[in-house]
């Protein structure tokens, strides 16, 4: 970002090192970028809220909100306006100060992640060399916000929800962190852009198909991310049937909408991280990052847009999978959740890290093994997806129905 601004200043005929306004340009750029990023987060969260309702409805053979705007697309605007206009109630018995600020902690923890999330080849707020660490660290702020809201609400439901959430996030932070270490080891960097650049555009160059441990690591990461984002089947902190609404029970109006903004925005974060770490991010097949860097003029802009589209496409697929999971799986019990984390995910992620260490040595000695493994896993993955698609088609035909995605929206 700074380099980009420097080049702008240089183009304007000043030397950024000596020009007195350099700092102000930086400041203005910071403001503009934060504004853009927070709005991006809010708007995607809003759109996801609509998309999730449509997807949920279709999966339940319903129609879903389709009245506001084309296909109901503006429903989220209507909902947002409604939430903003609603009264912001603070319970009498609540800890007023904490109750009021808790949503902002969540918002901050959530918005900070976007600093390190890449969008395309050049589009990233700050490509830190400790990117992954940073992301893992700032997401912890969310748990602070959740605990605060649960505690300050002075309601049993809220507190239960908050404590469950804390237990869940802290537990799943470990497998998530370990699973993310595997691409970090493979790429040899913590920077998100660096990890993407170390992969390639083709599926067999993605880390997910690099070796069996990486594939498992992706699954572990995805499960843990669901748990950290309080998504079904790990939505225990806000289990409606048990806790009314969990930690946000007492909230209303705008503050309530922050919680939901964070929840839906989190879907983008976990999906973007998955495509960054395991699925080659914005890499365009057949265009190596070095060539990409060297492009100039209109082609560069075109490639930039293509990389942005590729990244968004991959991310949206994961977002869809997250929604899809939510409308497939029932909620698991607290003990099952803990069992799964400590008995399966944690050991598996540690084993994976060890395995990858050894694997890297083997591939270093005999690179063809790595290539065979990558191609084999890619083929297996493609086979799995094909079989799954056939299975889905069979499910449709078995009920005497037909494939029909377009009607009755």
């Amino acid at each position: 970002m700074q380099a980009f601004l420097d080049s702008l200043i240089r183009n304007a005929g000043h030397d950024p090192a000596t020009w007195p306004w350099t700092q102000f340009v930086y400041l203005a750029a910071m403001g503009a970028v934060s504004f853009a990023v927070i709005n991006f987060a809010a708007i995607t969260a809003g759109i996801f809220s609509w998309a999730e309702r449509r997807v949920a409805a279709r999966m339940q053979s319903r129609v879903g909100p389709n009245r506001v705007g084309p296909g109901g697309f503006l429903q989220w605007v209507a909902d947002a306006v409604k939430l903003l206009l609603k009264e912001d109630l603070v319970p009498d018995e609540a800890d007023q100060f904490l109750f009021r600020i808790a949503p902002y902690f969540m918002m901050v923890g959530f918005a900070c992640v976007f600093v390190c999330l890449p969008f395309s080849h050049r589009l990233i707020v700050a490509d830190m060399n400790v990117g992954i660490f940073y992301i893992l660290a700032v997401t912890a702020l969310i748990v602070v916000g959740i605990i605060m809201s649960g505690w300050s609400s002075n309601s049993k439901w809220s507190l239960f929800g908050a404590i469950r959430s804390a237990a869940q996030i802290i537990s799943y932070e470990i497998p998530a962190g370990m699973a993310l270490m595997i691409p970090v080891m493979l790429a040899g960097t913590l920077s998100t852009q660096g990890i993407i650049r170390a992969q390639g555009g083709w599926p067999w160059q993605w880390y997910v198909f690099n070796n069996p441990a990486a594939l498992v690591a992706f699954l572990i990461y995805f499960i843990s991310a669901l748990a950290e984002g309080n998504r079904t089947p790990f939505d225990l902190p806000e289990a409606e049937s048990e806790l009314v609404s969990g930690y946000n029970t007492e909230y209303s109006g705008m503050r309530f909408s922050y919680f939901f903004l964070v929840e839906w925005g989190n879907m983008w974060i976990m999906s973007a991280l998955a495509s960054t770490m395991f699925f080659g991010g914005w890499q365009i097949p057949g265009l190596s990052p070095e060539h990409f860097d060297a492009l100039t003029g209109g082609v560069a802009v075109l490639a930039e847009v293509a990389s942005l589209a590729i990244f968004a496409f991959k991310t949206l697929i994961f977002v869809f999978i997250v929604m899809w999971l939510r409308w497939t799986l029932p909620r698991i019990r607290v003990d099952q959740m803990m069992n799964m984390c400590w008995k399966y995910l944690v050991p598996a992620s540690f084993a994976g890290v060890l395995f990858v260490g050894v694997w890297m040595l083997i591939v270093h000695a005999a690179p063809w093994i790595g290539l065979v493994m990558r191609l084999g896993l890619t083929a297996a993955g493609a086979l799995g997806v094909t079989l799954f698609a056939l299975r889905t088609l069979k499910n449709i035909r078995d009920t005497g129905d037909k494939f029909d995605f377009t009607s009755n929206w």
């Binding site: 319903r62 449709i396 129905d401 009607s407």
Partner: protein
């Protein structure tokens, strides 16, 4: 403790039992996710109400659905059976009577059904002799104004609406297609509601209101009763003609509420002397009753009562003692209710319960006279002339004929 610390032999299948949840998870993901995804790519079962239906919803629901009521005014006999059947007074029918010549005998000024109050029990549909009132399949009662929910089947411009006269012996009635009328009325629901009257306007309306006064267009039952009575006297001996006259006093809806199949049945029974009750014509109400009584009395006495008499006699006749003191005017039998009459008649008996009258006791004879139309007033032997005089006075308003 020692046991636990000792190296344990792995139970056979320990690995299996550890990995089983993983395998189960993978399998259930495979199955479950493919099912939910398959729904994603199917047409939702939901049909979207109301504007994306291929036909209106009301046409898709079963034919016998109990929706809004509909009255086909062209075959409504104004019998008000529906109004009486409704347990919560949802139906309001205002009747204006005519003499049957210059204007039809029964006219409806108003036939309102308050859909906002109706509970769709269907009790009003059952007694309707012609099937004029029916449930439609319409059910969409959303309206901006609650008052608009009242369906007015007599269009104010067309009031009073003549009642349908059932052709004798007909069993099927030409009903308009079900739902058409109510749907038309429902179109008016979107109209702006009538404004609420101001206090001044309400006071004005109150002043104008004809509380208790007979309607100008209405029929004077007393005058008509005398007319009919005169006619009846002329044809006294000719039972079929007498029946015709009597039938004119009835509402003429052939509703069967009187317990006879139609108006002919009831009037014939009276003409034949088999029926003495004048109260059975519910649609005719008080008017029919008054006319029938006038006719019957004149048949008994042979005199058509004068115009002013009934009104003058009524208040005094309310107490039996006063009536006894004042022998003139119509007999008590016409002015008192059956229960009161029963008491008065019982007083006139000797009270010995001797059974000489061929009834088991006085009570029986009294009931016979009051309720069963016993015409012979000479049976109470213990009472002698005294009882006879009283009974003739009470029942017929005359002196007893000499023995």
């Amino acid at each position: 403790m020692a046991e636990q610390l000792a190296p344990q032999r792995q139970a056979p299948g320990a690995f299996d039992s550890y990995t089983k949840p993983v395998r189960d998870t993978a399998k259930s993901f495979w199955e479950g996710m493919s099912i939910t995804l398959s729904y994603m790519f199917r047409k939702p079962m939901t049909t979207q109400y109301p504007d994306r239906m291929s036909v209106p919803v009301s046409q898709t629901i079963p034919a016998r659905y109990r929706g809004f009521l509909e009255v086909d005014m062209d075959i409504c006999t104004a019998c008000q059976a529906c109004e009486r059947a409704c347990p919560i007074a949802v139906i309001n029918i205002d009747i204006v009577k005519g003499d049957g010549k210059s204007r039809p005998k029964l006219n409806m000024e108003r036939f309102d059904i308050d859909i906002g109050k109706c509970m769709y029990c269907g009790l009003c549909v059952e007694p309707c002799p012609t099937g004029a009132i029916q449930h439609t399949r319409e059910f969409e009662g959303a309206t901006m104004n609650f008052n608009n929910l009242t369906l007015r089947f007599v269009p104010p411009a067309a009031a009073p609406w003549p009642a349908y006269k059932v052709p004798k012996g007909s069993e099927a009635f030409p009903r308009r297609p079900l739902g058409e009328i109510t749907r038309n009325l429902m179109h008016a629901w979107d109209a702006p509601p009538p404004p609420f009257p101001t206090d001044a306007e309400i006071a004005e309306l109150d002043k104008k209101a004809d509380h208790g006064k007979p309607k100008v267009a209405g029929l004077d039952p007393a005058a008509m009763g005398r007319q009919l009575a005169a006619k009846a006297l002329e044809v006294k001996a000719d039972k079929p003609k007498l029946q015709k006259v009597l039938e004119e006093a009835m509402a003429g809806t052939d509703c069967g509420d009187c317990g006879y199949p139609d108006c002919f049945g009831y009037s014939d029974a009276i003409a034949q002397g088999k029926e003495s009750s004048t109260e059975k014509c519910a649609p005719g109400g008080a008017d029919s009753k008054a006319m029938l009584e006038t006719i019957l009395v004149s048949l008994k006495t042979g005199v058509v009562p004068g115009p002013a008499q009934p009104d003058a006699a009524k208040p005094e006749a309310a107490s039996p003692a006063a009536a006894e003191a004042k022998p003139s005017g119509p007999p008590l039998a016409q002015t008192l209710s059956k229960e009161e009459l029963y008491k008065v008649v019982l007083e006139a008996m000797a009270g010995t319960d001797c059974g000489d009258c061929e009834y088991p006791d006085c009570d029986g004879y009294t009931k016979g006279i009051v309720y069963e139309g016993q015409k012979d007033l000479d049976r109470c032997a213990p009472g002698g002339e005294d009882s006879r005089a009283k009974l003739y006075e009470i029942m017929l308003g005359t002196k007893p004929p000499p023995k």
